[in-house]
């Protein structure tokens, strides 16, 4: 049949070494593959540009501050910050500041998780609970959490308590909302399928709703952690009493300007570290998601 013309050469293609016919194509050994991949991963043009950009930032900072160009007259130079960092970071004071802020964060954040996640799950699970709580919750939400600072100072006799309460409040909203979102995003066919397999409500809750909402819960926790740091810094600056935020503000008052910048970066690093911990926990709790 002339309809299908089998090309004589191409019919026994498996013997032809196609790869060797093409310039620029060589089959690598596994080691070569690994080596090339890792080298390309580190020394490529875009990584060089990234490093360059950081260098530029530092150089600019240096130039602007040493030449005292108008708005930056009082800003410390990178070198001053570096010197201050070397002298300050090993001290007990710095350690205590970090411990205090971290302690407040973890206490407030844990309480927010313990109350917020069950509340979110209940709101997603039971329509009556949602109808009861949600309108009030929504109408309180536009109030920035920071503006709760004076009120919480009024409400709690100890500053310590009010700071923990503020951290709790900052983390609470995103955690509840994301948990609710997570429950509502569990696909209907999962539940339908499980129902027709004869699941009881507790199976649906523990096998479907909870793991289905987990990714969203962890998103909420990451966002909540970010807000918790905002809150702890603001509360410490306003209400005082140890901590990184207080330290930064105090440095301003004591005219120890390099320490302000140091404080900012320390806060940033601590915040980054806290988010990393949550991400890590998330990957641990959801092995099916970190596979790809």
């Amino acid at each position: 049949m002339e309809a299908i013309q089998m090309n004589k050469v191409e019919k026994n293609t498996d013997q032809v070494d196609w790869a060797s016919r093409i310039d620029g194509y060589t089959e690598h050994t596994p080691f070569q593959k690994f080596w090339r991949r890792s080298m390309r991963g580190i020394f490529n043009l875009s990584n060089l540009r990234r490093i360059l950009s950081l260098v530029i930032i530092v150089v600019l900072w240096h130039v602007v501050t040493t030449l005292k160009i108008p708005p930056f007259t009082r800003v410390p130079t990178p070198y001053e910050v570096w010197v201050d960092a070397l002298s300050f970071i090993p001290t007990m004071h710095c350690f205590m500041c970090v411990i205090f802020s971290m302690g407040r964060i973890y206490l407030g954040f844990t309480i927010a998780c313990l109350i917020g996640i069950p509340l979110g799950l209940m709101m997603g699970w039971n329509r009556v609970v949602k109808n009861f709580v949600f309108p009030t919750f929504e109408s309180l939400r536009p109030i920035p959490v920071i503006s709760w600072i004076p009120l919480s100072v009024i409400m709690f006799p100890l500053t310590e308590h009010s700071i923990v309460f503020l951290v709790f409040l900052g983390a609470f909203y995103p955690i509840v909302l994301n948990t609710l979102l997570g429950v509502e995003s569990v696909r209907a066919d999962y539940i339908q399928g499980a129902l027709s397999l004869g699941s009881k409500p507790r199976h649906i809750f523990f096998d479907l709703i909870l793991p289905g909402a987990l990714p969203s819960i962890f998103t909420g926790m990451t966002v909540g952690m970010g807000l918790a740091w905002v809150m702890v810094v603001a509360a410490e600056m306003v209400a005082g009493g140890y901590g990184l935020g207080y330290m930064t503000w105090e440095s301003y008052i004591l005219i120890a300007y390099p320490r302000i910048i140091l404080g900012m970066f320390t806060i940033g690093a601590c915040g980054y570290f806290s988010s990393a911990v949550i991400r890590h926990l998330g990957n641990k709790a959801m092995p099916w998601r970190s596979l790809f």
Binding site: Y190, Q192, L197, G198, D207, G212, L214, R289
Partner: protein, 282 residues
């Protein structure tokens, strides 16, 4: 029909299913089903064919008991459907394997929630079924680690382990490419011929319906009515060769003639709806 006696793989007698004069709508002017009646014989492989959005999924939902018809009734073995149950299982359009469970956990999920003993017979049957669809060695993988075709097969296993009387399949191969689909069809034929379960198979693909089924019902565009019943008398066991047999082509011709008109109608339905809306407002 292929009604083998009590089968050692499923372990139950296959059931029969009927839909009698069902009406269903999502609201005024959104009628989905318009007097749909058909019957799925014991141990048969029945296909439902219709243009997309015509209400095939609604039929599956009604038979599975997720919703109730506005009028008419759905019967399983002569008893009206009341809520979902493990005697009839649905294989969904998109895979409904739980992404947080491994293939093995997914497979034995049904027996587990029913409180059955998970060792012994259940485990044996699970292994046998997994082997039958060629997934041995993948038991500890999560669904996201499997290819599309493998996920669909895993879903079949998950349904079959519960010894359903009836299997409802809602476009289970939608979204797979032509080659994978072909291979999946061969798997499902093989499974059907070995287990003898009653299957209701919903599809939009004519060739697929003719290739796998014993009977095919063709539905009209929305609101859906049964337009034609086509008995497919290709021999069983069905093989790839039948795909290109004379009888197959004859059936295909008949099906195409039935459906072509409907497809055109469905396509222009949007414009017509728009026209009528314009007329109403004028």
């Amino acid at each position: 029909m292929n009604s083998s006696a009590k089968n050692n793989v499923t372990g139950v007698e296959p059931g029969e299913m009927e839909m009698r004069g069902c009406y269903y709508s999502f609201g005024e002017g959104k009628e989905v089903l318009d007097n749909v009646s058909f019957k799925v014989e014991k141990g048969s492989f029945t296909c439902l064919c219709g243009p997309s959005g015509c209400g095939k999924t609604t039929i599956i939902n009604l038979l599975a008991g997720y919703t109730t018809p506005d009028m008419g009734e759905c019967l399983i073995d002569g008893v009206p459907v009341q809520g979902p149950g493990a005697d009839r299982l649905v294989v969904f359009q998109e895979t409904a394997l739980l992404p947080w469970m491994t293939l093995w956990e997914n497979t034995i999920y049904g027996p587990r929630v029913q409180g059955k003993d998970l060792t012994g017979e259940v485990a044996d049957r699970a292994e046998e079924l997994i082997n039958m669809v060629g997934l041995t060695g993948f038991e500890e993988k999560y669904p996201s680690q499997l290819s599309g075709g493998m996920q669909r097969r895993a879903e079949l296993v998950r349904a079959l382990i519960n010894q359903p009387k009836v299997l409802l399949m809602d476009e289970p191969f939608r979204g797979l490419d032509a080659m994978t689909r072909q291979i999946m069809q061969e798997y499902i034929i093989q499974l059907f011929e070995q287990t003898g379960t009653t299957i209701l198979f919903v599809t939009a693909e004519l060739e697929e319906a003719i290739f796998v089924g014993d009977v095919a019902y063709f539905l009209t565009a929305r609101p859906a009515m049964v337009k034609k019943e086509l008995v497919i008398n290709l021999p069983r066991p069905r093989k790839f060769e039948h795909f290109s047999s004379r009888e197959f082509v004859e059936l295909q011709r008949e099906a195409i003639e039935t459906v072509d008109e409907e497809a055109q109608k469905a396509f222009s339905a949007f414009l017509k709806a728009k026209e009528s809306k314009a007329k109403q407002s004028a």
